[in-house]
Amino acid sequence: MAEENNNPKDESTAPPKPAAAIPPPPPKPAAPAAPPKPKGPLPEPWTSPLVDALNEKFGAEIVKSYSFIGQNQIVIKKARLVEIMTFLRDINIGQFTYLADETAVHWPKDEEFELVYILYSFERNEYLRIKTRTKEWEAVESVVGVWGTANWLEREAYDMFGVKFAGHPDLRRILLPDDWVGFPLRKDYDLRLQDVEWVRKHLGIDSGQKYYVGEARHESPDYITPTD
């Protein structure tokens, strides 16, 4: 009896350790399960005869093809951009004769601009997004020769982002004045930033925006970063 009593006592002193040790394991299996919880839809791989044809003809130029919320997208390298676009326009399983939109997205961390081409085919009644990436100092081939629409759309991308298009017939600013300094839709261009010099020269007013755009803007004491 004494032994039996002793044993529980020993166990009662001992249990805290196993009891404390047992609860931690359940969180450990749970913890790896938590990170992959997807919030919202994820891109799904997408294949079609068109993608196969592109892969066959251009091989390594086609980076990937996927579908996001039912919208098909192809990521390509920019080296043979015009060839690929002409192919998409003319091939009879594509017939993307209409360029709905062309625009850019700035990704400052990668120092890159993503160019987005939204194509539409009347025959097939479908949209297709083509994406490619470029650096600031590298020009992209212009697609004006493929679709006339691209003329103003590329001028706007140049105006807002400073992306250069090689072979564009008339690459000038379109919405902003020709002698404006800075590219407003870049991420490092603050919302309140303005070409104060231009405003002073042409409008004869001090706009009250104290921020300064120019070559040395990062050294200027007036310059603020977008996070300020």
Partner: protein
């Protein structure tokens, strides 16, 4: 230099039309190169109204950005609102409740009528038919009254919210719409008696600014401007959004692609819009106005392109989300901007007076071009 030389030697003359010219519909400058009275080349200078809407979209939450969009195409603010709300809803994976969807279609189509009426009035005024303007604005006023009763605003309406609509219909809304729609087709006939068979009107519009279907697609024309060239393409039919698939309506098309055909297309579109409204008003379902969604809107990481048929053409939104409350990139594909690009090839070879007609027939709004 004698005057004779400039008149008869085919030497080029540059004339700057606008930005204060009344028939440029806003602040558009067209630099015309002329040979006598014939246009050799035209260059558009735009950007006078640039307000940086796309930049603002990156610094406002999705909900806050919607009223800003109303200021783009202020003639058809309801369409702007609809396109953006639907794009975000698509990203969030929700759909507005049926009652909200019907109200959306109804308001958007009424707005299409106001937009076309304003186009008709000003277009005819530019060409010299003053009376049409007065008639067109009479009916436009009726619709604006409906808008005002519904949401308090006439132009920049901000009618819809992401997830549905905010306001319940007011008492007597259906009757007011029914009364208007019952008479409206007759009113369109009335406008047509002033113009369609009018010799001067035909003389000023037939064959002016003609563009073939192939050229129109290449330059990216959409909306009535594309359908005037004979391409039967309307996003309401091709990629139905909202509840457009519930209604019977036709897509009018032209054949010659000239100013007269585009005029006929828009006149018929007004009748078709009235048809949609009269169907919609009879079967507005009961139910909630808003879908269930959290107060803080955070679309998943990714991008989306959603386009709708605005009165001017394809109005597209390309939204890139980084999972936060504000868009990473909020791109608007403005129909007027792309359509205006066709002006250059459409005016070449025409008279100076035709430039006014061609700017009118493109139905541009500078607020949307410059954003």
């Amino acid at each position: 230099m004698s005057t004779n030389e400039t008149l008869f030697d085919a030497s080029e003359l540059t004339v700057s039309m606008g930005p204060q010219h009344p028939s440029t519909h806003g602040v558009l400058q067209v630099k015309l190169k002329l040979d006598g009275e014939r246009v050799i080349d035209a260059e558009c200078v735009i950007g006078y109204l640039h307000r940086g809407v796309e930049k603002l979209g990156e610094h406002q939450t999705y909900g806050q950005f919607v009223p800003t969009l109303d200021r783009m195409d202020y003639i058809a603010a309801v369409s702007n609102c609809l396109g953006f709300c639907e794009a975000i809803e698509k990203m969030l994976g929700i759909t507005a409740p049926p009652r909200a969807q019907y109200i959306r279609v109804l308001m958007t189509e009424l707005n299409r009528i106001t937009s076309h009426l304003l186009w008709l009035g000003t277009h005819a005024l530019d060409i010299g038919a003053m009376t049409v303007f007065l008639y067109a604005f009479r009916e436009r006023e009726e619709i604006l009254k409906i808008f005002e009763n519904y949401c308090g605003a006439r132009l920049t309406t901000h009618m819809f919210r992401i997830g549905g609509t905010q306001y319940e219909l007011y008492d007597g809304f259906e009757d007011q719409v029914r009364t208007f729609i019952k008479d409206f087709p007759k009113k369109v006939d009335e406008y047509e008696t002033l113009l369609t068979q009018n010799r001067i009107w035909i003389g000023r519009t037939r064959g002016v600014g003609a563009i073939t279907a192939k050229a129109a697609i290449d330059i990216g024309l959409t909306g009535p401007a594309l359908r005037g060239s004979g391409v039967n393409w309307d996003i309401r039919k091709a990629k139905p959004y909202a509840v457009y698939s519930d209604f019977d309506f036709d897509i009018p098309t032209g054949s010659m692609g000239d100013t007269y055909d585009r005029y006929m297309v828009r006149m018929e579109e007004m009748r078709q819009s009235a048809r949609i409204v009269s169907q919609a008003v009879e079967k507005i379902p009961a139910g909630p106005l808003m879908a269930k969604l959290s107060k803080i809107i955070k679309p998943p990481v990714g991008d989306i392109y959603h386009s709708i048929e605005s009165p001017k053409g394809e109005l597209g939104y390309y939204i890139v989300s980084d999972g936060s409350t504000m868009a990473y990139r909020a791109r608007v594909r403005p129909p007027s901007f792309v359509n205006l690009q066709a002006l250059r090839q459409m005016v070449a070879g025409h008279m100076v007076a035709d430039v006014v007609a061609i700017i009118g027939t493109l139905d541009i709004v500078l607020g949307e071009i410059d954003r």
